[in-house]
Symmetry: C3
Subunit: 388 residues, 3 copies
C-alpha cells in the first residue's frame, strides 16, 4: 500500500480510528441489548429442575470448536496461497472475522433471538456468528489482494447486515431449511464477493498477475487450510441441526460427500490438465465442494449414495469451473475472482439449494417415521436451524 506522503497522516489513522469506532459502537450495543440466555445465565439455569448434563453446551460446543477452526485456520490459511499476500490474508482474516463475530451477534440477534428487548446469547449464537463470519471470508476470497483492511472492515459492516436480512427472509419468512448454509452462507457470500470484485475491477491487475503466483511453501500452507476445512466440514453442516439423529446423519452425509468430491476433483483435474498433471488450485478448493453441496440436504434422508453422488457432481463442476469458467468471468464479465469462490461456493451452493428442494420433495412420511418432526418431511415448513 503506497500512498502520497501528504495524505499519509490521515490515512495512517484510518484503520485505528475505524477499529476503535466499530468496537465502541458494538460495545455500547452489547451493553444495552446483549444478555446471557437460559443456558448461560447462572440464575436462569439454576431455576428449575434439570441436570447440568442437559446444558446445550455439551451437545453443540465440540461442533462449534470445529467450525471455529474452519473459520480462522481453514479460511485464513486457504488464502495464503498468494505468496506475496500470505501474511495479509491470515492477518486480515483474523481482524475481519473478529469484528464480524461481534457485529453478527447483534444483527442475527435482532433478527432471530430478540426476546423482551434483549438479544439472548449462548453456544448457538456463537455458531451462527461464526457462520456469518464464514460468509464474510468467502466474499473476502473474491477480492483478495485488491483492497486493504479499512475497506474490508467496511465491507464486513455492510455484508453482515445483508447476511442477517437474507437469512431472515429465507429461514423465517420463506421458512426454508438450510442448516449447512448452502444458500445463506455459500451462495450469498460468493455472489456478494463477486459483485464487489466487479466494482473493484482494475484492468492493470492483470499485468501484475505473476505476483499472484503461488510457490511451494505457500501451497503447503494453503493445504493446511484446505485439510482443516475438509476434516471439519461435517461439523459445519451439523452444528446447528436438530439434535439426535439429525446431527448424526448430517455429519455422516457430509463425510461421504467430501470423499466423493475429492475423487472427482483429482479425476477431473488430471483430465483437463494440459499434460495430465494435477492442478494444486483444484485440489485445494474443488475437493471441498462436497461440503458445500450438501449444506441444505445433509440433514435430510439424503441416503449415503445420494451423498456420494452429490459430492461427485460438485467436485466435478467446481474443477471445471476453475478451468473454464473463471477465465471467462474475468475476460467477459470483468470479475476477477481471486480465490475462485464462484467455483467453490457459488455454483456448488446453488446446486446444493436445488438438491435440497429435490430431496425435500422426494421425502416420504415413511422415510422420516412417526416420531420425526413434521417439517423434516416437508419443505416450506419452519426452519429447524435453531437461532436462540
Amino acid at each position: 500500500m503506497a500512498w502520497s506522503p501528504r495524505r499519509s497522516a490521515g490515512r495512517r489513522l484510518q484503520l485505528p480510528l475505524l477499529c476503535l469506532l466499530l468496537q465502541g459502537a458494538t460495545a455500547i450495543l452489547f451493553a444495552i441489548f446483549v444478555r446471557y440466555n437460559r443456558e448461560t445465565d447462572a440464575a436462569l439455569w439454576h431455576w428449575g429442575n434439570h441436570s447440568d448434563a442437559d446444558n446445550e453446551f455439551y451437545f453443540r460446543y465440540p461442533s462449534f470448536q470445529d467450525v471455529h477452526v474452519m473459520i480462522f485456520v481453514g479460511f485464513g490459511f486457504l488464502m495464503v496461497f498468494l505468496q506475496r499476500y500470505g501474511f495479509g490474508s491470515v492477518g486480515f482474516t483474523f481482524l475481519l472475522a473478529a469484528f464480524a463475530l461481534q457485529w453478527s451477534t447483534l444483527i442475527q440477534g435482532f433478527f432471530h433471538s430478540f426476546r423482551g428487548g434483549y438479544i439472548l446469547v449462548g453456544v448457538e449464537s456463537m455458531i451462527n456468528a461464526d457462520f456469518c463470519a464464514g460468509a464474510v471470508l468467502i466474499s473476502f476470497g473474491a477480492i483478495l489482494g485488491k483492497t486493504g483492511p479499512v475497506q474490508l472492515l467496511l465491507m464486513a459492516l455492510l455484508e453482515v447486515v445483508l447476511f442477517g436480512l437474507n437469512e431472515f427472509v429465507l429461514l423465517s419468512l420463506l421458512e426454508v431449511k438450510d442448516a449447512g448454509g448452502s444458500m445463506t452462507i455459500h451462495t450469498f457470500g460468493a455472489y456478494f464477493g463477486l459483485i464487489l470484485s466487479r466494482v473493484l475491477y482494475r484492468p492493470q491487475l492483470e499485468k501484475s498477475k505473476h505476483r499472484q503466483g503461488s510457490v511451494y511453501h505457500s501451497d503447503l500452507f494453503a493445504m493446511i487450510g484446505t485439510i482443516f476445512l475438509w476434516i471439519f466440514w461435517p461439523s459445519f453442516n451439523s452444528a446447528p441441526t436438530a439434535l439426535g439423529d439429525g446431527q448424526h446423519r448430517t455429519a455422516l452425509n457430509t463425510y461421504y460427500s467430501l470423499t466423493a468430491s475429492t475423487l472427482s476433483t483429482f479425476a477431473l483435474s488430471a483430465l483437463v490438465g494440459g499434460d495430465g498433471r494435477l492442478d494444486m488450485v483444484h485440489v485445494q478448493n474443488a475437493a471441498l465442494a462436497g461440503g458445500v453441496v450438501v449444506g441444505t440436504s445433509a440433514e435430510m434422508m439424503l441416503t449415503p449414495f445420494g451423498a456420494l453422488a452429490a459430492g461427485f457432481l460438485a467436485g466435478a463442476i467446481s474443477t471445471l469451473g476453475y478451468k473454464f469458467f473463471t477465465p471467462i468471468l474475468e475476460s467477459k464479465l470483468k470479475v476477477q475472482d481471486t480465490c475462485g469462490v464462484h467455483n467453490l461456493h457459488g455454483m456448488p451452493g446453488v446446486l446444493g439449494a436445488l438438491l435440497g428442494v429435490l430431496v425435500a420433495g422426494l421425502a416420504t412420511h415413511e422415510a422420516y417415521g412417526d416420531g420425526a418432526p413434521a417439517e423434516a418431511a416437508h419443505p416450506g415448513l419452519p426452519a429447524r436451524r435453531p437461532v436462540l
Copy 2:
C-alpha cells in the same frame, strides 16, 4: 513423473479413469448395500422412547474428529519431511484416504455390520473407516517417493480388503481385543508396506538419496504432523472402546504412554547421535511410539505406571530402530522404508500386541470389579471393539 511422449496420452488418462472407475463402483455398491443405522435413520431413531442425548453421536463424534485430524493432517504432514515430495505426500494422502474411507466402509461393513442384506452406517463406521485409512497411509509411508497415485490407489484397493479380512480373523474369529489397533492397524499397515517396499526395491534410489534430504521448513511442516498425531492419539485409542470408564481410562493411559515415549526418544536420540545432537527424524517419529504400543492394552487396567513403562520402552526401541535397524533393513533385506514405519508402527505394534496378552493374562476379577463386562478381564472372549 517423466514419461515417454508416445505413451503420454494413455498414461495421462490412467489416473482420471481409475478415479472415475473406483468412484463409480463404490457408488453403485453404496446404492445397493449402504443404509443409515438406528442412530442415523430418522424413522428408526424416532421409533421408541429415548432422549436425543442418548444418540451415540455425542459419545463418539468428538473422538472421531480427533482421529480424522490425525489421518489427514497428522499422516499427511508427517510425510512432508521429504522436501521434493512435500506436496505429493499431502496431496496423495488426501486422495488415498478419501478413497479408502469409501472402500473400507463397504469392506468393513460386509465383515462387521451386515444386517438383513444391508451395511448399516453411523459414527462407528466412520471411525473404523478412518482407522483403515490410517493403515493404508502407514503402508504409503514405507513406499513414499517410489510410486505414483495410480499405483497407490491400486495398493489401497487391495490393502483395504486384506485389512478387513485380517481384522475379521483377529477380532471376530480369534476374538482378540484390539481397540487401538496395535495389531490390526499398526502392525498390519507396517508389514504390508514393507513387503510392498521390497517388491518395489530399486537400487538406483540410493544414488538419489540426497533428494530425500529434509530442510528447515519441511521439518517444521513435518512437526505439525507429529504434534497433531501426538495430541490426538488418546482419542485414536479410545474412540472405539467401551463407553464410560473404558474410554476414559484408554485416553489417560495413552496420554501417559506418549509422555514417556517422548522422554525416552529425546534421551536415546541424544545418546546415539554422533555428537550429542538430537535427530529430528527420531523426534518426529519415535516420540509417537507410545501411542502405538498401548493400542491393545490401554483399555485394560494397565495402571498409570504400566503406561509409562510401555511408552518408555516403545520410544527407546523405535529410536534405536531408526539408528541401527533401518540401515540393515535396506542393505541386507533390500527394504527401503522411507518413513521408517517399521520403527514407528511395526516393532511398537508387535510389542503392543505382546503387552496386550500380558496385561490380559495378569487381569484379575478384582481389578475389573463385579460390574465390569466379563470379557474385559479375560482374553479370548469377544472383542469389545464395536463395529456397527
Copy 3:
C-alpha cells in the same frame, strides 16, 4: 550449541542422562502413588448404579483436547517466529511439556487429589497437568534462545513444584477462584520466566539481535500458533469450571473477550507503528490477551459487555507493552523478554486477577440465583476448580 572438544563427552551425556533420571524418578513415584480414580477405574466405576453417559469423560475430554492443542501446537509454534530457533522452539516445547505433564501429575496430585495415600487421576488431572505445562512454556517464552534443553528441564523440575505450591496457597488456603488461571498460570508463569531471564541476562545477546529477526515463513508458522491459541482459549478457561451454565458462560465470555482484544490490538498496533503499518508481533501476541484477562472472571456473571471491555483493555495494554515497555525492561532492568510474555501473560494476568476481584465484589445474589453455588457469588469461598 558449541562446546569445547574436551568437555564434549561429558556434555553430550547430560541430556540423555537427565531425561533417563527424570523419567526413572517419575515412573517410580507413579508406581507407588498414582492410581485410577473413580471415573477411570473399572471396578470403582462399575460399582454403584449409574449410566456410562455420566462419566466425567464426556463433559471434559473435548475441552481437554482443545487445551492439549493449545499447549503443544499453540505455544510450540507461537515461538517459531525466531527464525534460527524454529525447530528448537517446537522440539524443546515438546520435551519440556512431556516432562511437565508427568511431573505436575505428581506435584498437583500431592497437593490436590491425594486420597488414602494415593494420587487419583482422570481427565481433570490431565487438564490440570496441561495447565501447569502451559505455565512452564510461558516461562520458556521469556528465556527462549538463551539456554539449552538441559537447563530447560531443570527449570521445569523447579517450576512445577513452585507452581503446585502457589496454586495450593491461592486455591486451597486463600480459597481464591481462578478457573482460567489468570493468577496461577499466566501471572505465575510470566514472572517466573522474567526472573529467570534476569538471571540469564547476557549483554552480548544484544549484538546478535539480528539473529532474532523473523522472516515471512517463520511468521506464518507463528500465526498457526497464535490462531490455535485464539480459537481454543474459550476451552482453556472453561475446561475446569463447574459443569452446566458455568462452563457454557466461561466459553462465551472468553470468545467475546478475544474478539475485542483482536480489534484493539489492530487499532493500537497501527496507531503506534511508525508509518501506520501493523506489527506482526503485536498481532501474534497481544490479540490473545483477551483470553488471559478473563481467566479468573469468565466463569462469573461478567456480562457480554464486560467481556468485550476487558478484552479491549487487555489487547490495548498488551500492544502498548510490546511497543514501550519491553525496551525499558531490557535496557533498565536487564530483562530480555524474548517472546514478550510480560505483555501477553504478565500484565493481562494481573489485570485479570483485579477484574476477578471486581466482578466477585459486584456479584449479587440475584445475578446468580437461588440454585447457584454460594461461592459463585462471593469471593473468598472455596475454589470451584475441581482438582481430583
